[in-house]
């Protein structure tokens, strides 16, 4: 039965997790994300799942990666300081191809910063926070309904590509209350088992847990099913055996891990364009600022200005083709984000691909925790039109 609820974004993430089949949450309290953990501490035992409050965020992500290898869908939630602590194990999840979901309810930083105020200051940390070369997937909801929908999608993407997926929300979206619709059932992408059973393998035909089809993730057996999988954070071969000093082994593995995202970028990315067809100026935003941008664009159109917008649902992988298309037609691109400029670097990079006729890229930054006012965006539109 379809259910309607009036809830916070953080609670919507918890409902989304349950609907997607999450059965384990390991967490550590941190403002402004704590309601995700609180809600799941209540809901999971009612759905045959479990919740554990760990001793810190490093332990929380360790536990969810471990439980993922037992064959469960798992999640944690945190905010800036905790997300920083998780970085090493996020890299571990990437190199071991462990599906899991991390909700990062962003707050002002650096350091303890503004625990109760919103920010989009972690966008580049989501991209580059762990050491080494990797390609993250990240979703940025701009409403409470999207907190639910994108959490489900985050689980599906994590299973499909065997990566940790970061739900990049923020204090405004996390604590805002809106009506949401919870459908009776949602599309769930299940984990894939190896085609062969464990006893079909032998010394001459060994099980290769890290052998993938081109551009895809390998099927993933769980611990306890008899496959006897050696998992390591060291560079490894297809058997899972460490081969950490061989440049070819490292190049092969890391290139494959990156390509399974990059070569599927068009399947993963999601953007929504509004009024872009004839637009001279296109505004690019993601997460909470999308709401101010929409208001500003509608007002600009009412005043006869040729303005459009692109709402980016998936900051990572960056929707390169979609932004390039906009850069080819618009004279101005404006990036609106709640930081001093992070995703704008990606937009500038892509705009640069256009060559001589590249558009001007403008930034409307904002820090401190308040949302951009639509009139600020509107006056920038007028200033550059």
């Amino acid at each position: 039965m379809v259910k309607e609820l009036f809830v916070q974004g953080n609670e919507a993430c918890a409902y989304g997790a349950i609907k997607a089949g999450c059965k384990f949450f390991g967490g550590y309290p941190i403002t402004p994300s704590t309601e995700v953990a609180e809600k799941l501490a209540e809901l999971l035992p009612k759905h045959g799942g479990s919740f554990i409050q760990m001793e810190d965020e490093i332990a929380a992500i360790g536990a969810i990666i471990g439980a993922s290898w037992s064959g469960l869908k798992t999640m944690t939630s945190t905010s800036g300081p905790g997300f920083s602590l998780m970085q090493e194990n996020i890299g571990y999840a990437h190199i071991t191809e462990t599906p899991t979901v991390i909700v990062n309810v962003q707050r002002g930083g650096p350091s303890t910063g503004q625990p109760t105020m919103a920010s989009q200051g972690d966008m580049m940390q989501i991209r580059w926070g762990s050491h080494g070369d990797y390609e993250p997937i990240s979703l940025a909801p701009s409403s409470v309904q999207e907190c639910f929908d994108f959490t489900v999608e985050a689980f599906n993407l994590s299973e499909q590509y065997r990566v940790p997926v970061i739900l990049a929300t923020d204090e405004i979206i996390g604590h805002m209350r809106e009506k949401i619709t919870i459908p009776d059932s949602v599309d769930v992408i299940p984990r894939t088992m190896p085609k062969e059973s464990p006893d079909e393998f032998s010394t001459n035909n060994p099980y290769l847990p890290f052998k993938a089809e081109e551009n895809g993730a390998p099927p993933m057996a769980a611990f306890g099913q008899g496959y006897k999988i050696p998992v390591t954070g060291l560079t490894h071969d297809e058997r899972g055996y460490p081969d950490s000093a061989d440049f070819e082994a490292h190049t092969k593995l890391i290139t494959r891990l990156n390509n399974k995202i990059l070569n599927n970028r068009e399947k993963i990315v999601s953007v929504h364009e509004r009024f872009c067809d004839d637009a001279d100026t296109i505004i690019i935003s993601y997460g909470a600022p999308v709401r101010s941008v929409h208001r500003a664009v509608v007002q600009a159109r009412e005043e006869g200005l040729k303005v459009g917008s692109i709402k980016v649902d998936t900051p990572w992988p960056f929707p390169e083709a979609q932004i390039l298309k906009a850069a080819e037609v618009a004279k101005n691109l404006i990036v609106v984000e709640m930081n001093l400029g992070q995703m704008v670097y990606e937009v500038e990079r892509v705009a640069g691909m256009v060559g001589e006729n590249r558009p001007n890229v403008h930034l409307i930054p904002k820090i401190g925790g308040e949302l951009h006012k639509p009139e600020v965006i509107l006056s920038k539109i007028k200033e550059i039109s």
């Binding site: 609907k19 089949g21 035992p45 332990a59 929380a60 536990a63 471990g66 869908k73 798992t74 306890g224």
Partner: protein, 289 residues
């Protein structure tokens, strides 16, 4: 098909990964042998065993065992093990760790897993030094011992790991040295059978680094020193502290089974939704309430 010189536990190893990376004279071989002996005498099916480890020499042990294993990040093996166990309570999870991995970078996870009495078996190979990185002092290095980062001798007080984990609430704790393989395998058996947090500390030799830096280069001499300096806990409990300086207290520290966290988590699921915890549910394509 076991030949005269063949180790009876070779069947549990990934032979295609041998030879191993351990130095000649390392105690890790003794630890793995005694583990398999303890496992067999506990009548635990090797197919139900999954191992986790962090970073360091002893953390490379699971990679040679033919079972599911997670070789994780430095100090964090117990956290991954916790998730594995909750995800599938039927697994027997064994954590191989070292003094640096368990007590320095992973100290917080160690005491909290002990406090919560999480049903895991942690085998800590304590060689009093960082071997993998080339001989730096660890939280268990004796005061005055030498290491590359203690060129004038350690000026720190060491942790007593068995006492630390006892105080934190573990339900089974034992300490032996590599000079006590029989006692060690018996304690490993008990640890595996204890339905709670079990900690077995193995004082082990690192001739390559601890030995070289402290002028006991011969591993046989190191093991002899362990034997000569060990005092059983029952005897040590009656001795003056002064007489125990420089001694290794061995034996069982705790053997008090109590209900563990995993059991509580399973019970909560039954209480709240009338069924056992979901197992391997990631393969399902729908989740009805």
């Amino acid at each position: 098909m076991v030949g005269n010189n063949e180790n009876p536990f070779i069947k549990y190893l990934r032979e295609d990964r041998l030879p191993n990376i351990f130095c000649g004279g390392c105690g890790n071989g003794t630890v793995l042998n005694t583990f398999f002996k303890g496992m067999e005498s506990a009548e635990i099916d090797f197919n139900s065993v999954a191992m986790t480890s962090g970073i360091g020499c002893s953390s490379r042990i699971p990679g040679y065992a033919k079972c599911d294993s997670l070789h994780t990040t430095h100090g964090r093996a117990i956290t991954f093990a916790t998730g594995l166990k909750i995800g599938n309570p039927d697994l027997n999870i064994v954590v191989f760790t070292g003094d640096g991995d368990a007590a320095a970078i992973g100290g917080n996870h160690l005491i909290h897993a002990a406090r919560k009495n999480i049903n895991l078996t942690v085998i800590c190979v304590n060689n009093n030094i960082y071997g993998m990185t080339g001989g730096q002092i660890s939280p268990t290095s004796p005061e005055g011992s030498f290491a590359t980062t203690a060129p004038y001798g350690s000026i720190e007080k060491p942790f007593n790991l068995a006492e630390l984990v006892t105080a934190a609430g573990a339900s089974f704790v034992a300490r032996w040295t590599t000079a006590h393989p029989l006692q060690l395998s018996k304690s490993i058996k008990k640890a595996l059978l204890n339905p709670g947090f079990s900690f077995v500390e193995v004082v082990s030799q690192c001739p390559t680094y601890f030995g070289r830096k402290n002028r006991i280069r011969n591993p046989v001499d190191m093991v002899k020193i362990f034997k000569e300096n060990s005092i059983n806990k029952r005897k040590a409990d009656k001795m003056d502290e002064e007489k125990l300086i420089g001694k290794i207290i061995v034996g069982e520290f705790v053997n008090k089974p109590k209900k563990d966290l995993i059991k509580n988590i399973c019970d909560l699921s039954v209480e709240q939704c009338g069924r056992d915890l979901a197992v391997q549910s990631a393969y399902q394509d729908s989740f009805q309430e």
